[in-house]
Chain length 308, copies 4
């Protein structure tokens, strides 16, 4: 088997301060599809081309932010293997039984040095992408809004960047696709980490406070669709952060906006295909503007300061 | 490490009947970059976003066609492992020493049951994608023609489809992303096989004769670029096979055309991301028109009959 | 006033053999908006960015085809002026009183030498484009299907091409933007005529029979949208004629398909802006393939033979 | 003839502080084609799909800005007619003889109430669009940079907006396609004026100082090309003003940037087709953010303050 261990960013649980407006945002504007509502009020959503039951879970809470981010691994043997390797490296792992999340098998849960709660799981019920497995069409009917094809990645802010990057690369098998370093190259400021071939499945930026959530990103098919996203953002008076623009890092087209609770979302297109033999790219902090927003060549004031 | 074993379709050696017109086609119109000319007259080319030394080798010969297709594996340990597994499964493997191809390490060479010569290699000199590894731009200057980012896959025709598919899946770790079967589902007619996350790295169609070459495909970034390809094909009077159109299989945008020797090329965009847990799709032969050319919903007369 | 006389192709009345399937086609798939149903059963439709009450009228009849095509002129003075000029040139003009068509003022009706019934009108009730005239959005909500912005032009086949072209240019003020001629340049085979700045508002091809209808065309915003049209055509099993492709004439992106009665439709994007000082382009019949289908560089078998 | 009087924005003369860097910008990055250099050092440029000899004239001077903007009229009779009408309305008109500008016939020159020098001309030598008038291709070879198809419009700032708008609409036959007014609708703040069917050929914003130049705009074919423009701006470190974004006014896609002398340029795509019966759109000043930058929904600090 060519892809083993962690396959991809599979799920994110996001706190929203009011479920009603959040659902209008995530379903009608972003265009995710609701697959379940738990007895505890959590709502499960997926992007249309995902076969798994869900990739986004919304939980109503007093403050916005990310509860945890989940990565799907290749099978239960990989899950067992990661449990051992995490514990061997000194990480406390909680094994959550099957069924605590809708349609989800056992999960390993642990906290990385930047303070974020990460989960690994191997099994989730598959509900399909709305099309037959026999002689399908190319997209299903009745899609709404921005029509992302998948949950793509998260960007997270936290203090012990070195520790988290070491854990993800040495224990969990991630690769650094790109990094931001201080001009003297002594200190890593940001790391863009991939589990397989996407330019990133998760990224981390060094920042004083633990466990901060910068954004969850959803993949769309083209730069044309970035314009459609921007049109929808404007038509629906969704708070825009920045975009349409392009990242130097990943080369992806992007637009950032906020859900009604203040969590940042991204829709993202393009980017290259990563393989383990592709050399990592390094950006120096003096060029961080181009790294993050290739067109503006400077950060906007929100980028470093607004997280949830 | 998350991706092990075969990583991707890495190289293809194509026979051309006259090198001059072939180079004008592959360099000026398709837009590959020449990286070397061997002392034996073979010419080495790459697509711009590939870091490896080459992905296409042209060899002047009396008749067109494909000499062999190469897959890059994760490391030399994987190469050794594949050698054992291939031999255990009864395949005769030739180990070609480093340096027989420019900039290339040791290669395993063997013939699959459909008659095609396949190579595996772990090492190739990296020449980069024309941009710095530090603070790069998003594309290099002075690109020409169709500007493909990578060699993507080949489609090959041959007789013992079952044997080749068994070898690639059971010994080499490929996955079937999509397949075409007879209406009674008893016989596989086509298989689209992926090494990692592309919808296919190589595909095979059952056909009476061994070792036939249908096309080599090059990835471009968008449907917009398919139009640019079509414009260039028309402006330069390149023989068009079919397109712009879309495949049902892979969902990719496509245009097929011929090099001056009669080898079919494709430029291809889009398609989904494959993971090992994504269910395989099955097309029945009665719907093969939609499978291959989703818009026309019928094969053109060339598709089954013209190979090299 | 800078644009006077004929402003544009404004309306076309098409015969359909069954209204139900026709409405599903024109409303749900093509994406026109119904604005009225007449007491005589005719149904009035418009494209979303047209302000006038309608641009397409469907009439149930025993055989498909075009009843008449209407051009909107700048004002009633122009209408009176055209009546005089048509009569002076020997054309019999019928003045149809206001209200015979829904929401439409007086019309002049006459038959051109190729046998087609043409109408001129200066007044039609405006119903708007679904957005406010104050502080509007960039597109209205709830659009369906291919979302054309406007009815763009018709292509008509008939015998006395010279007579019709003379009438349209000398009496009605059209310009020839492009023409197809025999290789000896003695005979015009096709004429693409513009009233203002579009590459064509109406085109005629010489053909033995009078009053044949080749297609009605609807404008969409981009080549990206041509792919969406093609997807919808395939998903809904609409009979495809040809495309996605590009015309040499007009340079427009195009896809041709058939309504359930067998009338050909086109969606069309791009093309240049025409001004009266832009030189007319001439295509010779030996290059008619590139003129009509720039990518295939040959006519498909339907182009000359299938009309309604 | 359907289009009479003023046909279009045809030419603009821009002052640059150093010709060398200006030419690198306008030719290599923007992608205009040089057609002549005058004996007085002025350089004449055109966009590729314009048939006239030039649309941009660069003049080296001590300070940047616009010398004058020229509109092409339908013929010399129209020129004579406009001369009479301008003089009747109290405007002083200078008739500049043929040949003072390269390849250009007689011109009428006059100053409008906002202080800008406007020219009208009927004749300019045609040099073609780089393709044959017989059996042409769809675009010429060897285009560079952003590849605009035409000079599209200018936005000008000045004090007596009412006077200029009155002159352009009442004497020169322009239409107001869109306007910005104070919330009480008593005062016009901006006017977007069209000569024929573009959403604007010239626009004016009320501002205290006379004769200020906001930008010259060049038309590109699609939103995809806006991204290419943005890539080129970033790669060549061209000062970016804002974009990629979209205007509410005209609905056009846009990016603003500066030439080396500080003159603002725009590349622009999309927009609707205007006809004289299309209702004018009105934006109120409290919504001016959406009017100008539909996505950001607020002006950037440059928009009102930076002109040349």
């Amino acid at each position: 088997m060519a892809i083993t261990g962690v396959m991809r960013a599979g799920a994110v649980q996001i706190r929203v301060t009011e479920m009603g407006p959040a659902l209008r945002h995530y379903k009608d504007i972003l265009g995710l599809l609701q697959t379940a509502e738990g007895s505890d009020g959590r709502v499960y959503l997926k992007a249309w081309d995902e076969h798994d039951h869900h990739s986004v879970v919304l939980r109503e809470a007093e403050s916005p932010g990310m509860d945890h981010m989940g990565f799907k691994v290749s099978d239960n043997a990989a899950l067992d293997d990661f449990e051992r390797r995490l514990e061997d490296s000194g990480v406390t792992v909680t094994r959550i039984p099957e069924g605590q999340d809708e349609a989800t098998g056992e999960r390993l849960q642990f906290v990385v040095p930047t303070g974020h709660t990460i989960e690994l799981y191997a099994e989730m019920e598959q509900v399909g992408n709305g099309m037959s497995l026999d002689n399908p069409e190319v997209w299903p009917d009745d899609l709404k809004g921005m029509k992302p094809t998948r949950f793509d990645h998260c960007l997270l802010y936290g203090d012990d960047l070195d520790g988290t990057v070491r854990l993800l690369t040495e224990v969990l098998g991630f690769h650094i696709a790109e990094q931001i370093v201080t001009p003297d190259r002594q200190t890593m400021i940001g790391a863009f980490l991939t589990a397989a071939t996407k330019p990133h499945d998760v990224a981390f930026i060094r920042s004083p406070e633990k466990d901060r959530f910068h954004h969850a990103s959803f993949f769309i098919e083209s730069w044309h669709d970035i314009q459609v996203c921007a049109d929808l953002i404007a038509k629906h008076r969704v708070p825009l952060d920045i975009g349409p623009t392009r990242h130097g890092i990943t080369r992806g087209g992007t637009i950032y906006f906020f859900d009604p609770s203040g969590n940042r979302n991204e829709t993202f297109c393009g980017g290259y295909i990563f393989y383990p033999d592709r050399p990592a790219l390094t950006w120096t902090e003096d060029d961080i503007g181009r790294a993050i927003f290739y067109y503006d060549r400077k950060l906007n004031e929100n980028f470093l300061s607004v997280t949830t």
